[in-house]
């Protein structure tokens, strides 16, 4: 009996430690800085697009200066050379990165396709920056192209969500 409970206790300990490791709380993982940095970049894209989008959706009043500022910021973000955030081997086929990144290996194996898709974002953001101050209709007319460029990468190079995880 004693031995039995000892065994079950150690199994319990083992499973708890497995759970903790798999969840990654308090643990490092390969390319943690790079992966977190690129997710932060994505969040900032979403932030500036959200300012434009709130106007496009009619949730906030159109303001030419605010629209231009948001579009300029989006363009500046898009133009950053973030190559170092995308090291080889930081994709979702790496077991240690399960639940850490949704970047698919195809982002690297089909290189330079991802560069072309990123250029589409710069092109769309450039037009948006030039047009955003010209009225609400201009914002609405150009936000679709920005969305298309976002989807261009996310369709090809981002894997699905994982159950119970927000990213």
């Amino acid at each position: 009996m004693k031995i039995l409970s000892l065994i079950s206790a150690s199994i319990l300990c083992a499973s708890v430690s497995v759970v903790t490791t798999a969840d990654g709380h308090g643990k490092g993982y390969p390319f943690k800085n790079e992966i977190q940095a690129r997710m932060n970049v994505m969040n900032l894209y979403g932030y500036y697009l959200g300012e434009l989008g709130a106007m496009a959706k009619g949730q906030s009043p159109y303001d030419a200066d605010a629209a231009t500022r948001a579009a300029n910021n989006l363009l500046a973000m898009a133009k950053l050379d973030n190559t170092t955030m995308w090291p080889q081997g930081s994709d979702n086929s790496v077991p240690a990165l399960d639940n850490k990144t949704r970047a698919k290996p195809e982002a690297w194996t089909t290189y330079p396709e991802i560069v072309d898709k990123h250029k589409a974002l710069i092109t769309a953001a450039t037009t948006m920056a030039a047009e955003a101050g010209n009225g609400l209709d201009a914002v609405r007319a150009n936000i679709g192209a920005v969305g298309q460029s976002c989807k261009g990468c996310h369709e090809a190079f981002r894997g699905p969500k994982l159950k119970g995880h927000s990213h």
């Binding site: 894209y45 959706k57 989807k151 369709e155 969500k161």
Partner: protein, 303 residues
């Protein structure tokens, strides 16, 4: 001897019943209504039906989605399904009659009388009124013919036995056409038709049982990605989101958020759709704003 006879009779009766259950069921010519084709509606059915997402070449976008050469492969736990050519060419559906097309869409049966695999979502398409199916056929006939047959499916035993699909249909194909619910608003009914019928949202967003039938008790409540990794054959750990108005689904999305996401591809956080939803959104973009709002109204009505 009497026992032997009894056994033989039972076997024969069993075979007859098996044949009766598994034989492809067809709609007859005289059941087709008189119908004046509406090409505009046919085009709408094409886009909401998502034909181009599977039947155009892999990765096709824009006008290339109108070239229905087939060829996209779905790698599933049952094997690899390859979408066939459905362009109006002799290699596609160029020689099909209206009745052939109706039987394919609603009964899942080919012009040669064979069962189609439910990777072709006829469990959803069966909800379409025949008139919408005829409009869709008329629209497909206006598209460019593309030569070339796609590869055959590559399935393991027992899934390669098409007769078995008769049993599958007996269990999962209920033969019901869409009926509006008089207690619901018109917009919700319209959305329910588009989502449950041609839009076949449940094909990805509803979990499936081990025979590949949709678990309707968890309708649109999210599902594991069905496709397997084409290189490793392993099941994906990916998750297709819950799109009901549940807390785990679209509770925090307004009806306008849902319609806007279907129009532009942007979520309320201004993340964008990706994966196969990207192609779906490109299709839904072609619908009217009121149809997108109807889809959103229906999804918001689902608890």
């Amino acid at each position: 001897m009497r026992l032997y006879k009894l056994a033989l009779t039972t076997c024969l009766a069993g075979a007859v019943i098996f044949y009766w259950i598994t034989a492809p069921e067809l709609i007859e010519q005289d059941a087709l209504p008189e119908h004046t084709v509406n090409l505009t509606n046919g085009e709408q059915m094409f886009w909401v039906g998502g034909c181009g997402s599977c039947h155009a070449a892999d990765g096709a976008s824009g006008n290339h989605k109108l070239l229905l050469s087939g060829g996209l492969t779905l790698d599933t736990p049952f094997g690899a399904f390859v979408a066939p050519n459905i362009s109006p060419h002799d290699d596609g559906i160029g020689q099909w009659s209206d009745l052939d097309f109706v039987n394919a869409m609603i009964k899942g049966v080919s012009p040669e009388g064979k069962h189609y695999y439910p990777a072709f979502p006829y469990t959803n398409y069966q909800r379409m009124p025949v008139t919408d199916v005829l409009d869709l056929k008329a629209f497909l006939d206006t598209l460019p013919p593309v030569a070339g047959k796609a590869d055959d499916h590559s399935l393991g035993f027992p899934f390669n036995i098409r007769w078995g699909l008769g049993l599958w249909k007996w269990r999962y194909l209920d033969g019901q056409s869409f009926e509006p619910d008089p207690t619901l608003e018109d917009a919700i009914n319209r959305g329910r038709y588009l989502v449950d019928g041609p839009g076949h949202c449940g094909a990805c967003h509803t979990p499936r049982d081990r025979f590949g039938g949709e678990l309707l008790s968890s309708y649109l409540q999210g599902a594991s990605v069905l496709e397997v990794n084409e290189h490793t054959g392993e099941q994906s750990s990916g998750w297709v989101p819950n799109i009901t108005s549940d807390d785990n689904g679209l509770a925090e999305w307004t009806q306008e958020d849902i319609a806007y996401s279907l129009e532009t591809g942007f979520t309320p956080e201004f993340d964008s759709f990706g994966g196969s939803m990207s192609s779906v959104q490109d299709n839904i973009y072609h619908l009217s704003a009121s149809d997108r709002m109807a889809i959103a109204a229906y999804l918001k009505s689902l608890q």
